[in-house]
C-alpha cells in the first residue's frame, strides 16, 4: 500500500471546470454515445489530456449510472487505474477529463500492428499490471465488468492502466444490498444480477444472469482478454454479438472462421500461460482464482518491466490519432475500438436466425482457444456429439451448475476446429443461404480497394456482412434487388418456420430441464 501514502501526500491538482480552458486537438475514439478527444488544457501549460465527451441525451444509461461511474473513477487511486481529473457538463455532454495515454488501448495496438497477437513476455507484463488494478478494485469491493484489451491503456513510458468504468458496479452500493466481500457463489445476496459488459468477454454466469455473478466474472473476462492478447482477437469474435447471445446461448456459428484459427496452432505458448488462462476460464466461478491469487501465479514470475513494452510494443507504433483515423476509414459507419459494437443485425433486416445451440465453451488448452460445446443431452444430436473430437476438454454446461465431464472421443484430434463442420444440419444450410443473399446484395461494393482495412476485415466474415448490411441501408438499397431479396427471404423464412416448429418443443423441454437443474443447484 505504498501508493496510499504517496497519493495522500500529493495534493490533487484541480483541473478547470469549463470547456473554454481546453483546446480540442484530435478525435481519438468514438463509441455509440461518446467521443474521445485529445485536448490541451490551456491554463496548465497546455498539458495534454484526454476528454471523453458523453452525450447524455443519447446515452442509453441513466444519469444515476453515469454518476456512479464518475464517482467510482474519482475515488479510486491506484497506479494501474485511469483516474479522471475532473468532469463537468457542456450542454448535454458530460466531459470527463482524463490523463492522455499516448499508446492508446491494447486492442487498437493489436489491430494495427499485431494482428496475430503479442508475444508472451509482453502479454505477461500487460496482464500483470492489469491484475494489479483488478486486485485493487476487487479489494475495494468494485467489479469492473468490462475487462478487455480495449479497456487496457498504455502510456508512452509503458505504464499500463485499466480504464472505462462505464459499467462497473460496487458490491457496496446500498441498493444492491449491504454485504461483505464474499466472492463465493454461495453468497447470493452479494450477487449482481443485471447484465453489463461486452458479449465476447462475458462470463457464462453473467450471460445466464439468473444465477447472479460476482467478482469472479471479472476473472473470466480477464482470461478472455489473455486469449485476445495472445491471438489478436477474443475467442468466438467472428460471431456477431447478437441479442440472442444475451438472451440465451443461441449462437450463430461460422465455420470458415473457425478453421482460420487453426493457423495459429503453430504459435507456442508456455505451460504456465495456458494453465493461468485455464484457471480463469473455469466455468465454476468459485474455482477461478482471485486476482490477488493470480498475481502469484508462476506465469507472472520473472515478469519484465514496462521498458520491455516500450521496446517491444510501442516502438514504431503509429500514433493513437493515426490509428484511429485508419480504423475510421475501415469502419466508416461501424463502431471503432471494439467499444459497444452490440449493434445487432437489425439493420440487415433479417430476423435473428436461431442456429445450433451452443451450450457452453470449452477451453481447449492445446489450441489455446475456446471451443463451442453443443448440447449433448438434446436428443436431436446425441450421436453427432461423438463426432466432436475435442480431446480432453473440460466440458461445463452453462446454466448455473457445473458438470465436468471427461469427454474422450475415439477420433484423433486432427481437425479440431473443423469439427463443428460436421454440424451440417438443415439450419446450417439455411444460414448459408442467408449469406448468399446478403453477399449478392453487397457485390457492388469493391471492398478490396480499402487497402488499409484488409487486416481488420480479415477478422471475420460476419463483420463484413454487417458492414455491407449497413452500407445497403445507408445507400437506401436498390429497389428491384430489394424486392428479390424480400421474396427470397420470405421463402427462407417459411422453411425456417418449419424448422422452428420442430425445434420449439425440444427447446422448451431443454429450458425446462435447465430450470430444474439450476433450481436444484440453488437449493444446494
Amino acid at each position: 500500500m505504498a501508493h496510499e501514502q504517496e497519493e495522500c501526500s500529493k495534493k490533487k491538482i484541480q483541473y478547470p471546470l469549463d470547456s473554454n480552458s481546453y483546446k480540442i486537438l484530435n478525435e481519438i475514439g468514438v463509441g455509440v454515445s461518446a467521443i474521445v478527444y485529445k485536448a490541451a488544457c490551456v491554463p496548465m501549460n497546455s498539458s495534454v489530456v484526454a476528454i471523453k465527451a458523453i452525450d447524455l441525451d443519447q446515452s442509453r444509461t441513466d444519469l444515476d449510472t453515469i454518476r456512479r461511474e464518475s464517482k467510482t473513477m474519482l475515488l479510486l487511486s491506484h497506479p494501474n487505474i485511469l483516474n479522471a481529473h475532473c468532469s463537468f457538463t457542456v450542454d448535454c455532454r458530460l466531459w470527463v477529463v482524463m490523463p492522455f495515454m499516448s499508446g492508446g488501448s491494447l486492442q487498437s495496438i493489436i489491430s494495427s500492428s499485431f494482428p496475430d497477437g503479442l508475444s508472451e513476455p509482453c502479454i505477461a507484463v500487460v496482464l500483470k499490471e492489469t491484475l494489479n488494478a483488478l486486485s485493487y478494485l476487487h479489494k475495494q469491493g468494485h467489479l469492473h465488468r468490462d475487462i478487455k484489451a480495449g479497456n487496457i491503456l498504455i502510456d508512452s513510458n509503458g505504464s499500463i492502466k485499466l480504464a472505462d468504468f462505464g459499467v462497473s458496479a460496487s458490491i457496496y452500493e446500498p441498493n444492491i444490498g449491504q454485504g461483505g466481500w464474499s466472492s463465493s457463489s454461495s453468497a447470493s445476496r452479494m450477487m449482481l444480477t443485471d447484465m453489463a459488459g461486452t458479449p465476447y468477454w462475458m462470463a457464462p454466469e453473467v450471460i445466464h444472469s439468473h444465477t447472479g455473478y460476482s467478482l469472479k466474472a471479472d476473472i473470466w473476462s480477464f482470461g478472455i482478454t489473455a486469449l485476445e492478447l495472445a491471438h489478436g482477437r477474443p475467442p468466438l469474435s467472428h460471431l456477431p454479438p447478437s441479442k440472442s447471445l444475451l438472451m440465451k446461448i443461441t449462437k450463430r456459428l461460422q465455420l470458415s472462421d473457425y478453421e482460420k484459427s487453426n493457423n495459429q496452432k503453430d504459435k507456442k505458448f508456455s505451460k504456465a500461460f495456458k494453465d493461468m488462462v485455464g484457471s480463469c476460464l473455469d466455468h465454476d466461478p468459485s474455482k477461478r482464482p482471485s486476482a490477488e491469487k493470480l498475481l502469484k501465479h508462476s506465469f507472472f514470475r520473472n515478469c519484465k518491466g514496462s521498458d520491455f513494452l516500450v521496446k517491444n510494443v510501442l516502438s514504431g507504433l503509429p500514433t493513437v490519432e493515426d490509428r484511429f483515423r485508419e480504423t475510421r476509414i475501415v469502419h466508416k459507419n461501424g463502431s471503432v475500438d471494439g467499444e459497444e459494437e452490440e449493434d445487432p443485425e437489425s439493420d440487415s433486416g433479417t430476423p435473428i436466425v436461431k442456429q445450433r445451440r451452443i451450450s457452453g465453451w470449452n477451453f481447449n488448452e492445446d489450441v489455446f482457444e475456446l471451443d463451442p460445446v453443443f448440447p449433448t443431452e438434446s436428443r436431436e444430436k446425441q450421436s453427432e456429439s461423438d463426432n466432436w473430437d475435442d480431446n480432453v476438454v473440460k466440458q461445463v454446461r452453462f446454466g448455473g451448475e457445473t458438470i465436468i465431464q471427461d469427454q474422450k472421443s475415439d477420433n484423433s484430434s486432427d481437425s479440431n476446429s473443423g469439427s463443428p463442420g460436421a454440424a451440417g444440419d438443415d439450419q446450417a444450410e439455411i444460414e448459408a443461404g442467408n449469406i448468399e443473399i446478403i453477399e449478392s446484395g453487397g457485390g457492388d461494393f469493391d471492398r478490396e480497394t480499402v487497402v488499409g482495412g484488409l487486416m481488420t476485415l480479415r477478422r471475420s466474415l460476419d463483420e463484413q456482412r454487417q458492414q455491407v448490411g449497413d452500407m445497403i441501408a445507408m445507400f437506401g438499397g436498390e429497389v428491384t434487388r430489394e424486392d428479390q431479396l424480400v421474396q427470397l427471404i420470405e421463402r427462407l423464412r417459411m422453411e425456417l418456420e418449419n424448422e422452428r416448429q420442430k425445434n420449439f418443443e425440444l427447446e422448451m423441454e431443454l429450458e425446462f430441464l435447465k430450470l430444474q437443474i439450476s433450481g436444484a443447484c440453488t437449493d444446494n
Binding site: M1, L75, D91, Q140, Y172, P174, G278
Partner: protein, 425 residues
Amino acid sequence: MQLIRNITGNPEVTVLKEKRAAGVLDSFAKGGENRRRATIGICASKPRAEAPRASAATPAAVQRLSPPAPAAQPGPTLDSKPSTKMKGLFKSKPRTPVDVVRQTRELLIFAGRAPDTRETKREEKMAELSKNIRELKQILYGNSESEPVSEACAQLTQEFFRENTLRLLITCVPKLNLEARKDATQVVANLQRQQVHSKLIACEYLEKNIDLLDILVSGYENTDMALHYGAMLRECIRHQTVAKYVLESQHMKKFFDFIQLPNFDIAADAAATFKELLTRHKSTVAEFLSKNYEWFFAEYNSKLLESSNYITRRQAIKLLGDILLDRSNSVVMTRYVSSRDNLRILMNLLRESSKSIQIEAFHVFKLFAANQNKPPDIVGILITNRSKLLRLFADFKPDKENEQFEADKALVVKEIAALEPRDRP
C-alpha cells in the same frame, strides 16, 4: 480431469488452506497489508503486537492481555512504550470488536487534537487509525472469505454509539487519506442499518446529535469532502426523523445551488441526495411540500426547471414527475397543475430539443390535461395551443416502445381535442 489440473497447477491453493487454519487472524486482521502477515505469522501473536511501533494499548485491551504484561502500560495516554518484547511471550486473543472501536476512538481523539506532537509519531498514529477503520469495515462487511457475524456487528455498533465515536469520525474525515475516507464512509453507511435489540441505535444517536447533519450537508461546499459527506448524508436520511430535520432546515434552500455546481460529481451527488429527501419518506415529504409549497416550487421552477444547465433541467423534470405522480402528494399535485405559470414552464420543456426532457415533461404535462377540474385559464391556454400540441404529439414517442406511454398520449390527445372554451370570466 481439468479440475485436478487446476488444483495441481495452482500452487496457491495450499496457501489458502494455511490461511484458513489461521482463521482468527483472517477474520480480524486481514485485508490490505495485513493479509501478508496472516500467512506469515500464523502462530505469532496478533499483528498489532508484532509491529515494532507497538500498539496504542487501551485499558480494555490490557485487561484482556492479563496484568503481568510489563510493557503495556494502562492509561489513556497513547504514548505507550515499545512493546516488541511482548511478541511471542504470550499468545494474545484477537481484539474484540469493542476493542477496535475503543482504540479507534482513542486515535480519533488524538487525530482531532492540534498537531503538537512530533510529525513522525503523528503519521504512525494516523496509519494506525486508518487500519482500525478498515478493521471496523471488515467486521461490518465481512471479507472475501467470511461473512459478517451479526453478534460482532451488534457489539461494534453498541460500543460505537455508546460514546461519541460517530461525531469524532465525521469531524476527522478531512484528516484521513483517501482510502481511510472511503472506509469511514462505508462504516458510517453500514452503521445506519445495524439493529441492536431490534432498534436502530444510529437513529437515536443522530436525533440527539442532529447538528452532525449540518456538518454533512455543508460538505457540498468543500470539493474534497463532498462525495464522502454526501454518501454519509444519504445514509443518515434513511431515518425519517433525520430526513425531516434536513427537509425543514435552512439547508434545503442550499440544495438548489449545490445541484448546479460546475463540478459534475458533486452536483450529481447533491441531486441524488435532494431526490432522496423528496421521495423517500412519503408522509414527511407530503407534509413538507404542503407547508412549504410557495417558496419551494417558486425555487424549483425558476432555479431548476428553467435552469440554463441541461442536466439540471433533465433531473429536475424527472424528479418533479416522481413527486407529483406519487399518490401521497396528490394534494400538492392538484395545486401544481392548476397554475398557469407551471403549465407555461412545462410547455416550454415539451418544446426542448432533448428527447429525454420532452418525454419527462410529458409525464407532468399529462397531469394538467387529465385534470378533471381544469381552471378556466388552463383550459384557455390548452385551447389556444391545441393545434400545436396535437401536432407535437402526432410523432412523439420514446425510443423504446412503451404501451403505457402510448395509452397516456392517446388520453391526453383525446382530452385536448375535446376541450371547449368554458364560460371564461
